[in-house]
């Protein structure tokens, strides 16, 4: 389960739309499965099909999270023309089994956001609890 403020969900979807037709990516910080921050990051791949989080953006996000006594707990990225479900590339390159993997799909008229865990290649969808603050 991932608990997240509607503000961060709105920021993620806005980021995905702004970067379209390229894939957008970002990092989330938090603790105990509750999101405390969202960091937009540059997609070094600058591609509509793949993403690579800019390492310096990651470093800055990591430092800011630590300054706020939380950690980076996951990554968000967009799929511009496919469903909000981890691709084989996402699974193969998932860096951390403790992370949350948020997907925003722009395939349909309205953006769709879902969250997953990826442990040893196994994809498990988790519920997203939205806080109205």
């Amino acid at each position: 389960m991932l608990t997240i403020s509607q503000i961060y969900l709105d920021q993620m979807i806005a980021h995905a739309i702004r970067e379209y037709p390229l894939e957008a990516c970002g990092l989330i910080s938090g603790e105990n499965d509750t999101v405390k921050g969202f960091y937009r990051t540059r997609n070094d791949a600058a591609s509509a099909r793949i993403y690579t989080v800019n390492p310096l953006d990651y470093l800055k996000a990591d430092r800011d999270a630590e300054a706020n006594s939380v950690s980076i707990i996951g990554v968000m990225h967009s799929h511009t023309h496919s469903e909000a479900y981890p691709s084989p590339t996402d699974v193969a390159q998932a860096p951390d089994p403790s992370w949350h993997y948020i997907l925003v799909s722009l395939k349909h008229k309205d953006p769709i956001l879902r969250s997953f865990t990826i442990v040893d290649g196994n994809i498990v969808e988790e519920s997203v609890v939205r806080l109205n603050c």
Binding site: S47, L56, Y58, I72, V75, P86, T89, P95
Partner: protein, 93 residues
């Protein structure tokens, strides 16, 4: 000299759960070697079998990627902070 190394969450289990460790070294290569000696589980995740930097790991000396400095030969000075970060990537295919 003693240098602080910051570890990502995915590597902390191999370092007794620590987010920051301090190791001795004069270069990035020496520091990573010392890290691997102190925490054997970290070694294979940071360095390839040929001793080069693993391609799925980024190492920063303060704000600079060591791949754009002198790689493993990059010298460190007192007060430097080394950060190890996993490459975060994926895509829709």
């Amino acid at each position: 000299m003693a240098i602080e190394v910051r570890l990502p969450t995915v590597l902390r289990a191999a370092a007794s759960g620590q987010a920051n460790v301090t190791v001795e070294g004069e270069t990035i290569g020496e520091i990573l070697k010392a890290l691997a000696d102190s925490y054997p589980g970290l070694g294979s995740q940071v360095l390839s079998s040929d001793g080069s930097l693993h391609r799925f790991v980024n190492v920063y000396l303060n704000d600079d990627d060591v791949r754009y400095l002198d790689k493993l030969d990059t010298k460190v000075i007192e007060g430097d902070v080394v950060s190890i970060l996993p490459a975060v990537a994926g895509g829709s295919f």
